[in-house]
């Protein structure tokens, strides 16, 4: 099979410590266009720190994060100028936080939350912004009459869907998600999972999803990395890792789930 495409993201030997305590240790992986990569592990395994390092929210101690931009020019985000990095985050990347209050502007209306990222890249036509916001509200199954309401008047599930709309409106090529269904009721989770799955397919975005929930990983991810103590202890296709776990820690994780 001839595969000549390049990875969208190539992470090489990434390390990050908090003082003397290593949080991410020598992690390397590639993410391919259209791929959804799940990162699983327990709290404290380093998976969220890794995600924050990728997003530039934390400074890394060592390693490279090479991103293949839409313009076709790979750029190392660790050494890139802050302005170039910020521009990419606004235009080509999205970040869905576990807590929607961290990812939304709570004092902006739903419509303004969606429109803000468009305005940040130079969109100024109010009517156009509003109609785009409307179409994204319906894409994430929110009633249009709520467009002028503040996020705090929404349920947790609705806030999370609004955060997803806010991220996808600029049609990013890569979306990072940190426990996107954490803290939601099971029935709300199912709806959100189905929505994420559909939008990722429809818009062909690549995604990195951090989750401690193996059921979520099974539904969303093509491929999994298992982290423990800051290191990747196992990786493979989702069914390989969950149905034939090799590492002792992965076997423990899989056997601890009631049904995945």
């Amino acid at each position: 099979m001839s595969v000549i495409e390049r990875p969208l993201l190539a992470v090489e030997n990434l390390s990050k410590a908090f003082g003397a305590r290593p949080a991410v240790r020598d992690v390397s992986f590639s993410l391919w266009p259209g791929e959804v990569l799940g990162i699983v592990g327990e709290s404290g395994s380093g998976k969220s720190t890794l995600l924050n390092c990728l997003a530039g929210r934390m400074q890394v101690d060592a390693g490279r994060i090479v991103y293949d931009t839409a313009a076709g020019a790979p750029i190392d985000l660790v050494t890139a100028a802050e302005s170039a990095r910020r521009h990419l985050m606004r235009t080509e990347w999205g970040f869905v936080q576990q807590n929607p209050r961290d990812g939304l502007r709570m004092d902006f209306s739903a419509g303004a939350n969606i429109g803000e990222r468009l305005m940040a890249i130079g969109d100024r036509n109010y009517a156009q912004l509003r109609s785009t916001a409307e179409s994204w509200l319906s894409a994430v199954e929110m009633p249009l009459r709520r467009i002028d309401d503040l996020p705090r008047t929404f349920s947790g599930g609705m806030q999370q869907r609004l955060q997803i709309a806010r991220n996808l409106v600029t049609r990013p090529r890569l979306v990072l998600m940190d426990e996107p269904t954490g803290g939601l009721d099971v029935s709300v989770q199912a709806r959100l999972l189905d929505l994420i799955r559909r939008l990722v397919q429809q818009f062909q975005v690549s995604a990195i999803v951090v989750t401690h929930d193996l059921g979520v990983a099974r539904l969303l991810a093509h491929r999994l990395m298992v982290m423990k103590d800051g290191m990747v202890v196992e990786e493979g296709l989702t069914d390989q890792v969950l149905d034939d776990p090799q590492h002792e820690y992965t076997q423990l994780l899989v056997s601890s789930v009631l049904s995945a």
Binding site: A190, R218, L252
Partner: protein, 235 residues
């Protein structure tokens, strides 16, 4: 009709499970097992529970990674070894070449029956209308009433879910099919439909490996019965 084009070439695979939670106990299941399957053949695996039938089937799908040997499948005109292929190459093989009817449908919340069946066709690049049309044909042939097509199959009976599962895999017309007890929870009429689907697939040149206990289906579809214990050295 015999078509001798080799589609599956398993060479000397060994698979041992190491159970870390049981003090590192080792469970050898396959040892140097080999199996070749040509286009148009339906090989039925034979053997007692624990003899390695499911392990072999899952190794053929790339879910189980053998410690040794090769699992080569004909994909886009060349033999691709699942043991050494990159994850995204295995996904490509599964998208276009390899279908797997498991015993249970893994239900995705909220997705309708028709969309579940149409999904593999759409990922192969068919347009939505065509994918849904073919999905509907298969569901109809398998006796899933049209009024159920818009519902997610979570609440369906076991037999209905199994037929949705079969429709999903057969609609995509993969050149290689793996079948794990495809008629186990079906009544006689539906089992007969599945037997016809399998025969149709064989006449298109599909290579099939199946696990079937039920004697009527087994007799109707099998072109070669293979005792798993005799595929390699005794494990």
């Amino acid at each position: 009709m015999t078509n001798s084009l080799p589609m599956i070439d398993v060479r000397d695979i060994s698979k041992t499970f190491r159970l870390h939670l049981r003090g590192g106990a080792e469970l050898p299941v396959l040892r140097a097992a080999s199996l070749q399957v040509a286009a148009g053949e339906c090989v039925t695996l034979h053997g007692a529970s624990g003899s390695g039938k499911s392990t072999l089937l899952r190794s053929l799908y790339g879910t189980y990674r053998p410690q040794q040997g090769h699992v080569r499948l004909r994909h886009r005109g060349e033999m691709v070894d699942l043991v050494t292929a990159l994850p995204r190459q295995i996904l490509d093989v599964r998208r276009y070449t390899l279908g797997y009817v498991t015993q249970f449908l893994r239900v995705v919340p909220r997705v309708s029956t028709l969309d579940i069946v149409a999904e593999p066709l759409m990922t192969q690049g068919n347009d939505e209308a065509e994918a849904r049309r073919r999905a509907g044909e298969l569901l109809e042939r398998l006796g899933i009433a049209g009024k159920l097509w818009d519902l997610p199959p979570a609440t369906f009976s076991g037999g209905e879910q199994q037929r949705v599962n079969i429709a999903r895999v057969f609609a995509a017309e993969y050149p290689i099919l793996l079948l794990d007890e495809p008629t186990a929870s079906l009544d006689e009429a539906n089992a007969q439909t599945v037997i016809e689907l399998i025969k149709d697939a064989r006449s298109r040149g599909t290579a099939i490996v199946a696990i079937v206990h039920e004697p009527v289906t087994r007799a109707a579809i099998t072109t070669r019965l293979v005792p798993v214990a005799e595929l390699g050295e005794a494990a």
